[in-house]
Symmetry: C2
Subunit: 315 residues, 2 copies
């Protein structure tokens, strides 16, 4: 990366992949990627190799989130460096395979961009999940999409939280882009969710093409939601859930939540109120896959992130 | 059953059970039954033994629909009469156990009523699934609920279809009552869905108590939706799904569907229209669990079902 007056010049993005099925029951990515494997014209861009890829075929085949463990948490240095053995968990072997095909993670040979398509049962609309506030290229990409489709077309969840950050499937690439779209039940294909995912991806790929052709993107500010805390369900003395998401919180992803607002309703009808600090913006509210992770929702805080200008580096 | 002037007199309903978790990832019934096992006061009625019961504990524990096969299809004479063996599929053993505890199916010793609580990802609201148009007792129960909570508080799907009817878990009882409530994703507990399920059950149990105490329920007419046909997704030459539920059909359970209306949208953007006979009322639209059963939705036809008057038989 070299800087110019008020920006950074970056190498072109030539190798891009679109992952579906990192979680085998999140059907929009599975469906789109299967179509693009059959006929990828829609996602090809001049000068860019775009590879659609089913990330966890065994989980997709059984239409379950994972076989042995969550693939989207498996890209740690320890796991990626484990000696190959037949009896390794399915997702450990798959993570190592993905690292071979699209990595190695952290090396100059890694793919430039991986888009990882997910669905959520939460009412999150289209949400970019980003892992690096210093990745001006991706910040500019999201800004381009927001400017094209409208500011409310998508949200940005920035996860740089020391404890809550995890080693995602897409982290193998130089630029890791998670796209979480909902609400959609596990195992279901909704046409409205497929349409909005497809549209967001179109403009993301357009951005890459424009960038590669030399278009400059001026410095800008991007509204992001910074991951703040994970909130579990209230539990009884046996560790069993004793309350559900309160009706006043259900489906209100990205809406302000203030101290004293209702967050849970116990099964015997008592309300539990939010007691955190200041206004937060909850999301991943009532995500089916997070019950086992002891997570009812996460809180985020709004932040305006400055993104440097970007343009292609002409060698 | 003996008849009187314009009705039938029936024995009291003394033994009632409420099943949750026939499908292990349908969480409203699992949650309510777990609560009622801890503290069942809410569902007890004078003179009636009400037994909350988790129908498929192993599937509930793993939060999956089933372990080996769909329990809700396992109550056939063949399965119930299989010789006990250790290696029988999990749900075969469980069906035989339920038949021992709450049956035997078809005998005078069977429980009087079993309510079987299900959830659906389809926008069906509260739907009673009934299997016998001659069961005046249950028709009167549903009518009582509709009169109390409002006609639109619930729908009635009547499944007496020669090919589409199946041997349900609840069919072990003299009176089998399925309650399907949605939309709710698999694995999720929504407070609005829990509330409406709980309310419907309250009035169902109240009806039983009133009946047992001697209240007479006059002959009435009940609007039901008779199961007509099952419609699969369009598929390509490999048998893979090639279209999704059309946006104009999605979430429109129980709304009239006429020949020429859109039902599917192919992944490359073509609309497929309904070509059936006359107006039908689709339901189970885009149910996650029915992809594997090759069912995109079912069609039903509206019918007004006369129910005889019912009162308790005084011996
Ligand atoms: Zn996911
Ligand atoms: Zn069910």
């Amino acid at each position: 990366m070299t800087t110019y007056l008020n920006g950074v010049s970056l190498p072109p993005s030539k190798r891009v992949s679109i992952f579906g099925g990192t979680h085998g029951n999140e059907m929009t990515g599975v469906t789109l990627v299967r179509q693009w494997i059959k006929n990828g014209a829609e996602v090809q861009r001049a000068g860019v190799l775009v590879t659609p890829f089913i990330a966890n075929p065994k989980a997709v085949e059984r239409r379950v989130r994972y076989i042995d463990q969550d693939l989207n948490r498996a890209f740690t240095p320890e796991i990626l460096s484990l000696v190959e053995r037949k009896d390794l968990p399915c997702e450990v072997k798959q993570a190592q395979e993905i690292n071979r095909l699209f990595g190695p993670k952290g090396s100059k040979d890694a793919y430039d961009v991986i888009f990882d398509l997910h669905n959520t049962t939460s009412n999150m609309g289209c949400t970019f999940i980003l892992e690096n506030s210093g990745d001006d290229f991706i910040l500019q990409m999201v800004n381009y999409i927001k400017c094209t489709l409208g500011q409310s077309s998508c949200h940005v969840l920035l996860n740089e939280h020391p404890e809550l950050k995890y080693e995602t499937t897409r982290s193998v690439a130089k630029h890791a882009v998670g796209l979480e779209v909902g609400p959609q039940p596990q195992g279901v294909i909704r046409s409205d969710i497929l349409k909005s995912t497809r549209q967001i991806l179109k403009y993301a790929l357009d951005f890459i093409q424009l960038f590669n052709k030399g278009e400059e993107f001026a410095a800008c500010d991007l509204e992001v939601y910074v991951l703040d805390a994970s909130v579990d369900y209230p539990r009884d003395q046996h560790g069993d859930i004793s309350a559900m998401i309160h009706p006043h919180l259900q489906d209100r992803d990205w809406q302000p939540l203030c101290p004293g607002d209702a967050i849970f309703l116990t099964f015997d009808g008592k309300t539990i109120y939010y007691e955190g600090e200041g206004t937060v913006y909850p999301t991943f509210i009532n995500e089916a896959a997070y019950y086992e992770k002891h997570r009812a929702f996460v809180t985020t805080r709004k932040k305006v992130l400055p993104a440097k200008g970007v343009k292609i580096r002409t060698v």
